[in-house]
Point group: C2
Chain length 153, copies 2
């Protein structure tokens, strides 16, 4: 099996589905180094009552632990939804090499939708960004989650 962006995004979508079964907004994330997944996580914000419960933050912390370092050089982060300001900042702070995401986030997306915070030459680190990988799959997952949520209310 070819381990390309679509392959790793499918793994992130698997994580997102775990969030659904716990009643959380389905967002999943994996971090890849040398073509291997070194960390996986999904959104746990409400469950943990912790604003740091976003999928990206959980995955970054696991990768920090795995590598015993706060710098995640040569890593790629795959996330099913465009990162918010906090997560974009955490990705920048970690010096992750590449960010790949699926769906856009029209209200909080800080990479292209509401702001483009990573596009600033003054930062000491430049991240390669690819959006739209398996966008449709992620959007369908999110829409169906919110639809069910509305129906249950």
């Amino acid at each position: 099996m070819v381990k390309d962006d679509r392959y790793f995004m499918k793994q992130a979508l698997k994580e997102a589905k775990k969030a659904i079964s716990r009643g959380e907004v389905p967002v999943g994330c994996v971090i890849v180094k040398d073509n291997e997944i070194i960390a996986r996580s999904y959104n746990k914000r409400d469950q943990k009552k912790d604003v740091l419960g976003h999928a990206e933050i959980g995955a970054i912390q696991k990768a920090n632990k795995k590598l015993n370092a706060w710098i995640l050089e040569d890593c790629t982060i795959y996330v099913t939804l465009e990162p918010c300001l906090m997560c974009a900042g955490a990705i920048l702070q970690s010096r992750i090499k590449r960010l790949v995401y699926a769906a856009k986030e029209p209200k909080f997306g800080a990479v292209e939708s509401v702001a483009r915070v990573l596009d600033n030459d003054a930062w000491n680190h430049k991240i390669e960004v690819t959006g739209g990988v398996l966008e449709e799959e992620s959007s369908v997952l999110l829409k169906s989650f919110f639809q069910k949520l509305r129906m249950s209310k």
Copy 2:
């Protein structure tokens, strides 16, 4: 004793000094609700090998725990250094009411120095920001830390 911005920033500076004794960049933070400190933290990034070790993140997580909620409405966060992108994002996500900081951060400051990421009417939450409270005290602490670090190398 009057519990004003200077009072709470002094408490944040106390936290920053704890970081020094552990060989970490001296940044400290307190979160205040109803005129009482509900969370304190200081920078532990290198010690914890965790990019989420910044003072603000530690304090936000403690406040989330204390209030058993990820929303920190009606809270003020005092931090001795201008927040980076990640921390500014975490403050926004937490819906903290007010941010007060001491010194500017010329390389990573995302509130006024390198970027002004909180100044975006598209965010669903507006934070009141006050910079420069006990700026001198915080700058002296930081400068003396880096001076000693250079001398020890």
